[in-house]
Symmetry: C3
Subunit: 345 residues, 3 copies
């Protein structure tokens, strides 16, 4: 991606902050502190890398307000309230300037049922399939080879990457982003075992995805057994995540890669699942809970809990236990010595 | 999905049971005990929710035979031998009444090799690709954008959802359901490391999927190195599950989401893997084994074993150890006190 | 797959080794020691199965040089330096003889932008989509229903299976194999949380995949936030693996199924991740490290480390602790007895 901005343009895009120093370079790249060269914009987003600022060769370095030190020659320190947000704004501008926006309209190779309602400002890419009664809102982009089942509704300004599949009867809000390989509306996993055989319980509910949700590549959201599976407004889901039938996820949650939530469990708002977490079915995870990586949650959690391990328990306790667990060889020796000293036998 | 059934119709669909009470409502929805309103059918499938029956507002409540209590006015309690099975039958009827069944025939946008044998009663949806020598049985539905490799055979009454891929030379039985994003017949993961480089071991075997298997969205079944990978009759696999090459799974197993089985391992019949389980390669898991969520099995298991943890061991023992592990901080204090009392040093 | 080779042909394909015994059978199958019959070639690749050689009924058995014993009548023992490599060569020949190679050229149903540069010796299968400015090298095969984003470059002799998606601006080397459902170049998972809402950090970097990489079905490689995500030469990735944005993986690593690496982490060369491993973001895993199955690595690892468990620590220590952990019930009893004996209270 090729772009080129002056210092003045960058200051305007960032929208806030105090610039110290001066540079004549045009910004043509973005790079981390250790890799940046003249012509790059760099930034301190994670305090862990604080010491790399002094040796950074970027032309502009975006820093938090309280960062000390001064720029080199031909370098600018731009101190802002939220470095990540300022950087996001620069990146968003680059994205807008560099990426080819598809034009509105339906590609001739797409297979669209005549009863589907496609807004005149939507863009339906090549080899998409849209079934009967589906609705696609204004500004929504379906890139390529996407499937939209019958009666499913997509709102405005959604962005579906190639090879997404959304089954029938689902409801997708506005500004939803679905990445390649996402499957929405697959059957929930439900069987009744009678005489050693597993009889399928038909899954006749739907999936509701609220506004501003983003779902990463190859993640799955199953339709409800009946009623609905729901992903709350502004929740962001990473790649390869599994959401089972009848799960209800509140607004503004973060679900990191390869996590899974079993059937009928509910999450409040602002819950954070680290990567590879598993949550049992039919439980309640309160608002603001945080779950450590690879943890397995097997019971209800009070709002604001921070747990880890399998089965999960409070993280402060788990950290202590983890340290002591590794000292078990020593403890067994100490107990043996005690037994010897007081001649247990 | 819109439907409407009288009490008499519901009794007929359920096929068995004793009705107590009377209602004039037509059933137009299905809902859980706590959410149901007049016009809904509800049910008690999990005893955990037993206490919610008394306050349930559904017009019909399906209950196990031994459930006490009486219906409210304008409400029916329907006591049956298997509530889940009765409910499944109602749902199946709704599914049949509401979902648009594709007509038989080949969509003009599909790319079908002239040497493929497509039964006249099969339905090949838009933008599917069927290669040379493939066979598709009667009543089988390929919804949309599906790939079937050369020489692969699908039996009768299979249902493949959009964007499934089945590689060449595979054998799929009757009434198999594959959900969106399923990959059958990808190469197994096998390399010979010579001089620090990983040389590919060609994977020239096939995958055999027996009758009545169902596989969830984005799951993968690798083809064998040679010979076959096999999924036994009636086995049900959830989403995002990994089945490596040369794995042999017996009949009527349940593999919950995000589990994985490494190469050449065999499972007996009626094995249950909870979610996110890992099974090492080249081992034998006996019939009727149950594996707890996130467990890692690294050795053979006798039939009927119930294990958990990583590495996995018997669940009764693991539960005790888990309780004591959390009491380690206390145990370390107790040992220190003993050492002080008997003056170890 | 049907094939038939004489003993002489097999000796030629294997390329090395000492044959003992004689057989008139033509080889028409490959099977494991316990399943092989006359007409099959079998082999001892894993010493675990050593005792099965004596009763093996295969016509040719490939063995390591130091294997004792003699063949039966009408059977050949072929002793070679690398049994797995010899077998791989036989399998490769079978693969070449049996699989239908697609012809060069662009299938008429593919949607290819006029500005894309497709080598005359590349093969673009049915219903593929190739966007503006993309480049496809000589001998590269895109099987079916594949997406290649704009400006993305694929080298020579790559093999992409059906339904792969490679986003825009990515760089793929030579001889890269991507299996069905692989997503390369999906957005990284990055948000800045401001006022309880998660603002998207645009992901404007790319993915670089070096020569001879293979990636298994339904795995995901996210594009960088800026700069690049990189998979080193000869690295082999199994199914359902997650590679987050800005991860740098060195050459000749092995990443087994369902593992995940969080953002900005770097792996040296020849690192081995067993299945279902998780690696935290922003850390360094040195060359030659091995990570046990289901382990969770949460800090830098020195080259050559071998760790397991969550959080991960050295495997020799972890194995001892694991044994002692299961003896906790006994230890608690022993401590209680000591307390009784010396009358703690």
């Amino acid at each position: 991606m090729q772009f080129s901005y002056t210092l003045e343009e960058i200051l305007k895009i960032a929208g806030e902050g105090q610039a110290e120093g001066q540079t004549e370079e045009r910004i043509t790249g973005i790079a981390s502190l250790s890799l940046a060269a003249a012509g790059d914009l760099s930034f301190l987003g994670n305090k862990k890398y604080r010491k790399e600022v002094a040796s950074c060769a970027a032309s502009i370095v975006v820093l938090p307000e309280d960062h000390d030190g001064s720029p080199k020659e031909n370098q600018v320190f731009l101190r802002v309230t939220h470095p990540s947000k300022a950087l996001a704004q620069v990146c968003e501008r680059i994205e807008r300037d560099c990426w080819i926006k598809p034009v509105a309209g339906i590609h001739p190779s797409a297979v669209v049922d005549p009863s589907a309602k496609i807004d005149a400002n939507a863009s339906i890419g090549p080899l998409c399939v849209i079934e009967a009664g589906a609705t696609i809102g204004a500004g929504t982009v379906l890139e390529s080879q996407i499937f939209i089942g019958h009666q499913t509704q997509l709102g405005d300004d959604c962005w579906l990457k190639p090879q997404v599949s959304v089954g029938s009867h689902c409801l997708i809000g506005d500004r939803v982003r679905l990445h390649s390989g996402v499957v929405v509306g697959s059957d929930g996993y439900g069987y009744s075992t009678v005489g050693g055989k597993h009889l399928k319980e038909p899954q006749i509910g739907r999936v509701v995805i609220e506004d501003d949700v983003e779902i990463g590549a190859n993640s799955c959201v199953d339709r409800a057994r009946f009623s609905e599976t729901r992903i709350g407004e502004g929740t962001k889901i990473d790649n390869l995540v599994q959401i089972a039938h009848n799960v209800i996820i509140g607004p503004h949650c973060l679900l990191v890669a390869q996590s899974g939530i079993a059937g009928s469990t509910t999450l409040g708002d602002h819950v954070i699942l680290s990567a590879q977490v598993g949550i049992l079915g039919h439980i309640k995870v309160g608002s603001g809970c945080r779950i450590g990586g690879q943890a397995g949650v097997n019971g209800d959690l009070e709002p604001g809990s921070f747990v880890t391990d399998t089965p999960a328990y409070p993280i402060m306790q788990a950290r202590k236990v983890e340290v002591l667990k590794r000292r078990l060889p020593d403890l067994f020796k100490r107990v043996a010595k005690l037994e010897e000293l007081i001649d247990v036998n």
